[in-house]
Amino acid sequence: MDWDELKKPRRFTRGPDAPPPISLPQIKLPFKLPGIWVLIVIALIIWALSGIYLVRPDQKGVVLRFGRINRVTDPGPHYHLPAPFETVHKPKVTEVKRVEVGFRTIFQGPPARYQDRPTESLMLTGDENIVEVDVIGQYRISDPAKFLFAVKDSEGTVHNALEAAIREVIGSRGIDEALTTGKEQIEEDTRLLVQAMLDRYNSGLQMVVVKLQDVVPPNEVIASFVDVASAREDRDRLINEAEGYENSVIPETRGEVAEILNLAAAYRAEKVLIAQGDAQRFKNILEEYVKAKDVTRKRLYLETMEQILPGIEKFILPEQGGGVLPILPLGRGAAPPLLGGN
């Protein structure tokens, strides 16, 4: 057996010995019914049943009769007249779709991988700077009939609208606002602008949220922006250091001041108390002194001399001239050199 023979249509399976093909009229039925009508009835039933359709919970059913919108049905089993009278579309109305500007998710992940689209993401700001913006929008179908038939290519429409809107919004702002404080406002303004466009297009779509993923300076200038951030840090650091200096010096000075004032107060109190003490003592002595002036005076004098004189060197002078003559070398041994020679 060669290959050509194998490839030949296998006509020989129904050879002359094979049983004749089954044909309905030849079957003996218990009751008489022309077979063609059975077939037609079965076909009609199948055709009629083909109008049963199921709308899943995330869908709405839009039924068209001869191409015209006839009714919109909610989730559950429903029936429409079979084609070609009626047809049904079932858009997913609860599904939130996503549109990306400035980048594309090329792998859902995890870990997700993204691809940058510089032509989309680089945009001019209102102060003629360039900033790199990645933004996503989430939208869903708000009106299934409009969604199906009002706009051709809904997805592309949303993408273009978002791209135009984000550029318009970024273009109306300075770079610093875009990079730092204004993000929420930009998101909201963009969302409203996109929604206004989508409404104008009668698209049956609702922009649920616009989210800025990334707003960064372009690579060419990012180092300068980083330097600004570190300059801000430097500023804060310098101020903190100075405040630290203040915080250490002022309390210390307060301590010094307290010390000075305490010392001064102590000095004053001391001075006064000593003076009062001295004065009181004098008054006491004076009181007794007045009673016996001469005796007391002498006694005090002599007592003082007694205290002083034992410890010191003394010379008694001769009467009236004649130089110095040590008559009583009281005290310690040798006479002073001045006198010793005579």
């Binding site: 700077n129 273009n160 010191i312 009467e319």
Partner: protein, 287 residues
Amino acid sequence: MNKRYVILIAVAVVLFIGVNATFFTVGEPDQVVVTALGKPVRVIQESGLYLKIPFIQQITRFDRRLLEYDASPRAIITKDKKTLRVDNYAKWRIVDPLLFLQTVRTEAGAQARLDDIIYSELRVDLARKDLIEIVATDRSELMELVRVRTDAKARTLGIEITDVRIKRADLPEQNEAAVFGRMKAERERIARQFRSEGKEEALKIRSNTDRERTIMLADAYEKDQTLRGEGDADSVRVYAEAFERDPEFFDFLRTLEAYRKSLDNKTTILLPPQSEFLHHLNMSEIE
């Protein structure tokens, strides 16, 4: 028997062809121009089931939905002589399918005509504005202006222009480099400003601290001296008040006190015999 089937099938086929050639539906996204041997007889813009004369009348379907025109980016010179690469799109729809059929025939043909209309309008209108006005301030008004003008022209093609938008308006590469240069310079300026603001603030805080310290210490000195002076004054007064009672006795006592304190063992004194201390030592007196 077999003959009956053949007739049945033949009738069915003829019926099917006849119905198909007579009835036609216009769907929600469609609009239709009916022509009889090339001559337009009817325009249908409502969806539903319609009749036509089979084989004589023909139908041409057009899209009734909003369509998109998306141009490739083009360079446009602004009023301040800057080049801007503009990428725009427009939303349009066929409002007069008969006119559309007569003028541009197909969507592809329409795209080409729209390209001419929109680009020339855009170029003219953008050339009247500075770059910054296009990008920032006047964008929406500008787009609306372009839309109105292009719409007026497109009406002759049976087209309505619903919206014209600048999707992107970027600078060409060589201008981008200049912008980056300027951005860098600006950032450097801001960075310098931050740093010198830091120094400014730090110097303010430090010098203020020093000032406060100096004032606090001087203040303390003043109080210190006042207190001490008060102490001194009080003591002077107390002493004076006491000593005034007998100045002579005070002099005596205080002198003795001074002797006690000032005469120590390093002192040498010469005593005349007639001094008060020695006057009993005088021989003559004894005799």
